[in-house]
Each structure stands twice: as structure tokens, then as C-alpha cells.
Symmetry: C2
Subunit: 234 residues, 2 copies
């Protein structure tokens, strides 16, 4: 690393950190990490930007260098509960043409996204105070896009009986919700292992009316792609 | 009504209501109704007992005559998202010996409980600030009891494949969660109709690995009991 680059990363003289850094990684990530912890433990409304800055060990003014405020922090955190899954969809659809295997893999990717999100931030989107944040619409749009992806895949699978009177759009919503079980499990102190993940992902197929034998088959077909869909993700 | 009873219900002289009553029903119910509206619109932490009292049109001190504080109000609201369902279980099991019909009816009762809860209060149990309330353990225990009921019924139904590696207890949890889809739908402005309710209840059977034909059968069998399980509930 050149000394110029290294100097850039050091606090400027006269503007020392309030305390030594408590967390690792770039300051922007440290802010997100500390905010995630505070929002999910105290609640969004009850957390101030000052507390977040203090937890990171930077001045409040420095926090505003990275984010316009709490609202931008929470919307970035929420978008991270969806983006990795959406990023995996095209890759999954290039790997398999079987819609049941594809739906299973998308759901599995979604389970992993929620299972690895720091401090179970998926939790936050249901909080009334978070829903009022400017920029929350962006999260709603991203979640709708995820539901539309589920709906598109499910519409190629679902039996007439399983669709009943509700139609593919509502089924897509249902599949997003069924994967969000991860959030409740984590809240209850449960660690999501691969068996849980596989079971939750296959519940998406069951909700489409896929019978036991074909669920089994999709799960087995998916196995060869597991490493490819999201590399080293937990 | 005797004049003594009627006098009991009137404000005593010298202690008039701050404003005329804004809501109907006994004061305790008015407090619950106003609190449900404020908690779900502003959030729990951001709502004061003073605001609740003002919304009802009573003094803050009068509110404390009915409740020890916000915590007792929110735990009472949360318990009402579960109690009516639990109350219906014994009645349902006396009506039918078929576990699939029974599970469907319990789930349907649960859907109706959440769909008719004022201001979608089911929403609140996921809020970090609510989870810290003294008395929240009681709600957790009630929700666990509901999950145990689902687990007991599901264990008589679920195929080995559908259970996979997770076991009946986790399947019970999953079924509670799948019905909680109602909360998200209401948040998104969706009004739950009978078709939605039937579809969500039958998704519990699908998650147990019940095939389309048998789901159909349970739904039809259940129809004759619909009026009996919870009388005039919406």
C-alpha cells in the first residue's frame, strides 16, 4: 500500500476518533454493522445517529459523510436482505431449465441471504417506525420484484388445485413469506443449518402442489449446483 | 338499568373527561383500541400513555386505573391474536376426528383471528421494542402453545418426506408462521376474504405433504363445521 493511500485511511490530525475503532472493515461497513445491532436490539426509532457513531467510535458528523441519516442506513440494510438473492436468479436460470429445481435454488439462495444477514436485519422491515422511513418504498419495490420472480417460476409449476382462487402473484407473495420464516427462527435463537435451509426451500415446492417424489427429485438435482449459485456464502 | 349502575358509568362530578369520548364501548376496550391504532401507526416505543389517554378522551391517571402501563396494554393486545384460536381447538376436535379436517379448521380459525384483530396488531410481536416488554414471555408462551397444537395435529398427518429432518415441533412453528402471512397481507392493504382464508388454511395441509385430492377433501369436509367453530366471527 502506498503511503498516500495509507494516509487516506488514517484519521486526519486534529480530528481523532472519539475512541479506538471497535469494529473491523471500512467505516461505512462499520456504521452499517453498528446500526444493525442497535436497530434490532433497541428498535429503529429509539436509536440515534449519535449512538451509532459512538458505537463505531467516530464523530456524529463523520457518520453523515457516509449516510444522509438513519433512514438511508436502514434502507441500505434492508436492501441487503434481498439483493444477493436477486443477483443469484439469472445465474440459477442459466444453470437449469427445470422450473422446480430453479425455484428450489432461488428459495435456497433467499434462505441463505436471510440466514447470514447481520443481526437478523430482515426483522426490521415489519416495524411500524421503519415503514415510515423515506426510501422505504425502494425496499417495498425490491421485495415486490423478488415476489414477482417467485411468481414467474411458480406459475410454471403450480397445479390448478394449488393455485386455487388466488393466482400466481399472490402465490409469489406467499413464497417470499414462507422463506421469511428464517427471520422468526433466528429471533427465537435458532441457528439455520443446511437441513433447515433445504426444508424451507422445499416447502416452496410443496406450496405449489408439487408431490413428495418430485420435491425429492428437485432437491437432488439442485445439489450439483449448490456451490455455483453463491460461491462461499454461508 | 338501575340508576346506581348508570351513575357508576358516568364520570364523577369534578372529574370530567378531557374531551367527549371518541370511541364506543367500555373504557378498557377504548384504551385497547386507541393503543392498537397508535402502536401500529407510530410504533410502540414512540407512543406514550398520555397520547393513548388523549385519544380515548380520558386523563392519563384514569388509564392507569385499567392498566399498569403500556406493557400490560400491548401484552393484552398480543394475547388477543392467539386466544380465540386456542379457544376454538377443543370445539374443533369435538366436531371431527379426521386430523386433516381438524388441522384445516384450526388454521382457518387462526386466519380469522389475525384477519379480524383490530389494526393488524399481530404485526407488533416482531417489533424489537415490544419484545423487551415485561410480560412478553406470556405472549411467547401462548404462541408456543399454539405451535404445539399445530405440531400435535401435524404429527398425525405429515408424511415422512414432508417432515424431512426437521421433526413435528419445527413443523408446528412453520404452520404458525404460514398463517401469519395474514399480517403481511393486511400490512400491504389486502383485505382477507374467505377464498384467501381457505387457501392459507389449506397451505398448512400442503406443508404436511398432503396431496391435492386430500386437501380438496378436507376443505369440503370442513365446510359443514364452519358456522360452528366460531359463531359469528368475521
Amino acid at each position: 500500500m502506498s503511503s498516500a493511500a495509507s494516509a487516506n485511511q488514517r484519521p486526519r490530525p486534529g480530528r481523532p476518533r472519539l475512541t479506538p475503532p471497535l469494529l473491523a472493515g471500512p467505516p461505512r461497513e462499520q456504521v452499517l454493522e453498528a446500526a444493525a445491532r442497535l436497530f434490532t436490539s433497541k428498535g429503529y426509532a429509539a436509536t440515534s445517529t449519535r449512538e451509532i457513531a459512538e458505537a463505531v467510535g467516530i464523530r456524529q458528523a463523520s457518520l453523515y459523510y457516509h449516510f444522509t441519516g438513519k433512514g438511508e442506513i436502514v434502507t441500505e440494510l434492508l436492501s441487503r436482505t434481498i439483493r444477493p438473492t436477486m443477483d443469484s436468479v439469472a445465474r440459477i436460470e442459466s444453470l437449469t431449465e427445470d422450473p422446480e429445481t430453479a425455484l428450489y435454488l432461488v428459495a435456497l439462495s433467499d434462505v441463505r441471504t436471510l440466514a447470514s444477514a447481520p443481526h437478523n436485519i430482515g426483522w426490521l422491515y415489519l416495524a411500524p417506525d421503519v415503514a415510515q422511513v423515506e426510501g422505504f418504498d425502494e425496499f417495498t419495490a425490491a421485495r415486490d420484484a423478488l415476489a414477482a420472480t417467485y411468481a414467474r417460476l411458480a406459475s410454471r409449476i403450480a397445479t390448478v388445485d394449488a393455485l386455487g382462487s388466488i393466482g400466481p402473484a399472490r402465490l409469489g407473495e406467499k413464497l417470499v413469506h414462507t422463506v421469511e420464516e428464517v427471520i422468526g427462527l433466528r429471533n427465537a435463537g435458532h441457528r439455520i443449518n443446511m437441513d433447515d435451509a433445504a426444508w424451507i426451500a422445499s416447502s416452496c415446492l410443496r406450496l405449489c402442489g408439487v408431490d413428495n417424489a418430485r420435491v425429492e427429485l428437485a432437491v437432488r438435482d439442485a445439489e450439483e449446483f449448490l456451490d455455483e449459485i453463491d460461491g462461499g456464502r454461508p
